[in-house]
Subunit: 109 residues, 3 copies
C-alpha cells in the first residue's frame, strides 16, 4: 500500500531564487518534477528563523509575510526530493508528516 506524506516549507514572501519569488520557483520545481499538486498559503503575521539573526530588543514581526508551500505526494517521492529542496531553501523550516490520502484526482461521471 502506497504511503503518502505532506511536505511543508515555511519561507518568507520576499525570499528569492534566481530573481524570482522563491515560492514561485518551488511551485515550478515541484511541477517540473512531477509532483501531483502544490499549494501556496500566505500568512498575515509571523516570525521565524530570520528574526534570530537580528537583535530584537522589542518584539518585532518580520517585515515580509510568512509563506507556506505545501505538497502532498508519495512518501518516497517526497523524501527523494529533500536534498534538492534544501539547496533552494536557505532560511526557513521544512517539515514532513504522514497523511492518509482518501481521494486524489479527477473523477469522470
Amino acid at each position: 500500500m502506497t504511503r503518502y506524506a505532506r511536505l511543508r516549507i515555511y519561507i518568507g514572501e520576499s525570499d528569492r531564487y534566481q530573481h524570482k519569488p522563491l515560492y514561485m520557483y518551488l511551485l515550478e520545481w515541484f511541477h517540473h518534477h512531477g509532483f501531483k499538486g502544490a499549494t501556496v498559503i500566505r500568512g498575515i503575521a509571523g516570525y521565524g528563523s530570520h528574526s534570530k539573526i537580528h537583535s530584537v530588543s522589542v518584539f518585532r514581526l518580520s517585515e515580509d509575510l510568512p509563506i507556506i508551500v505545501e505538497v502532498v505526494d508519495e512518501e518516497e517521492k517526497i523524501h527523494g526530493s529533500l536534498d534538492e529542496i534544501k539547496k533552494l531553501v536557505k532560511e526557513g523550516l521544512i517539515t514532513i508528516e504522514p497523511v492518509e490520502v482518501v481521494f486524489y484526482g479527477h473523477r469522470e461521471e
Copy 2:
C-alpha cells in the same frame, strides 16, 4: 479515549455544487451534520489535479485559486462522512491525519 483526526479537502475556488461555491456547500454540509467546526483557507497560488488534464507545455498556474476546507473532529465521525464527501468533491485531494485535541470549546470563567 476518543481519537481525533483532521480532514483536509483541497479544491478550487471556482468549483461549484448546485450553483453554489463548493467550499460554502461543504461548510454547510459539515455544520448540518453536526461537525464541531470547519475552516476555509484560500491559497495565493498552486496547481493540482486540474492541471493534469490539460496539456501543459509551459508551466501555468491554475486559473482559480486553491481552497482548503479543514475539519477537526472525532476520527470515527470523519471516517463515517467520507462516502458522502467524495460524492461532492469531483476533483481535488482529500487527506486525513490523526491529531491530539488539547482543548475544544467554550470555557466559562
Copy 3:
C-alpha cells in the same frame, strides 16, 4: 533524537486579550518564551465553537474570520506551554501533531 510537534490554535480574528488581538498576544507570547517561530493564517470563512453558543436556526457563518496560529518546535517545549496557552484561549480549538523537521534555521553559504 529530538522529537518535534506542530501546535495549532484556532481562534477568531476579533478575539482579544488585554486590549490586543489574541493572535498578536500569542505571537508575542511564543516569541518571549523562546519558540523558534510562529505563523498566523487567516481563513476566508468558517464556523466553530462560537456558533455552538448561539441558537442557529439557519446556517450562519461566524461574524469574525477564523485565525490559525501555528508553531513548530520541540514536542517537550510545546507540551510544557499548554497550561499557559489554555489560560489565554477561552474559546476555540487547540491541536498537536507530531512532525518530522527536515531543516530549521539559517544556513551560511
